[in-house]
Amino acid sequence: MSGDATMQVSVWRSGDGKEGFQTFDAPRREHQTVLDVVTWIQQHADPSLAYRFACRVGMCGSCAMMVNGQPRWTCRTHVSRVLKDGRLEIAPLRNLPVIRDLATDMTPFFEKWVAAEAVFAPSESREAPMAPIKPDDPRRVAADAAIECINCAVCYAACDVVASNPEYLGPAALNRAWTLANDARDGGQKARLDAISKAGGCHNCHSMGNCMTFCPNELNPTASIAGLKRATVKAALGWGKG
């Protein structure tokens, strides 16, 4: 690719009482990620641009933004995959309050993890011997499939139920609740099932799979939520342990 190719990048700006898209001409480079573009703008065009990132290798989950209308982890999203008619539109993650420019306030997202009791509740003291769990135990296998979440909130931004029902706990918190529901060492199952059976709970999921489509780690929160629905129904009908 030639050194002087450029592309038009519209970046959402907010704060200081003004808001709207601002357009920049940024260089188009080979193997460039969306995060590279945002960083170039901040370093060469407007140092006041606010955005968030840390690891740049898809581990920390802090760099997610809306790119041409879809939620993406920007550090691992190549421009070549998302460029539309030579243009990029970059906006803060959907369904979250914006602090400034591209930086969202993720507090509501994490508060919902707590509200979903998506927190390990040890059933034994630290002195107890380690619990033996076979790798092929079905509950271990179910937890395994859902465990590699990086808390990026891409699924939360992709979920239309979150958009229309601010109470809804959302795919990430519920996905984490599912891993714990399958943790033999966890003693908080009753409280967890109660927490996810309330007005904003797992039963609000429409199972349309936006979360699964966009999760950069290819997790399937839709399936996790379906598991939670079954577990709550089983517990309510008294069919053994959810």
Binding site: V161, A199, G201, H203, V233, A236
Partner: protein, 109 residues
């Protein structure tokens, strides 16, 4: 806005409705194929406890199922919440129930 209780109610009514819908369609096809007149149909349904129960249960299940579904749609698309949402859902359910039971009564009593 869908709690476990509402979710369960909607699933249970769906399970009830599935065979009733099939039964209803079968009856419709039978009536049309055979060219039954309204009077002939009424002759078979009136005074029949079986038909009263069949369509009575159907109407109750539909009223509950539809009211919960409408409740979700109205909450998610129009943003209605709280007491207003409950009033709407109960109102929709009771209206469907009244209309349905009136029809069942007219045909089977």
């Amino acid at each position: 806005m869908l709690t476990l209780r509402l979710y369960l109610l909607q699933r249970v009514t769906a399970i009830l409705m599935a065979p009733l819908v099939l039964g209803h369609i079968a009856v419709m096809i039978y009536a049309v194929q055979d060219g039954l007149t309204a009077a002939e149909i009424l002759g078979r349904t009136q005074g029949s406890l079986g038909w009263m129960l069949f369509y009575g249960v159907f109407v109750v299940a539909v009223a509950i199922h539809a009211a919960i579904g409408l409740r979700v749609i109205v909450a998610e698309t129009l943003g209605l919440r709280g007491a207003g949402l409950n009033v709407f859902a109960w109102g929709a359910g009771l209206l469907l129930l009244a209309l349905g039971l009136r029809a069942v009564w007219a045909v089977t009593a």
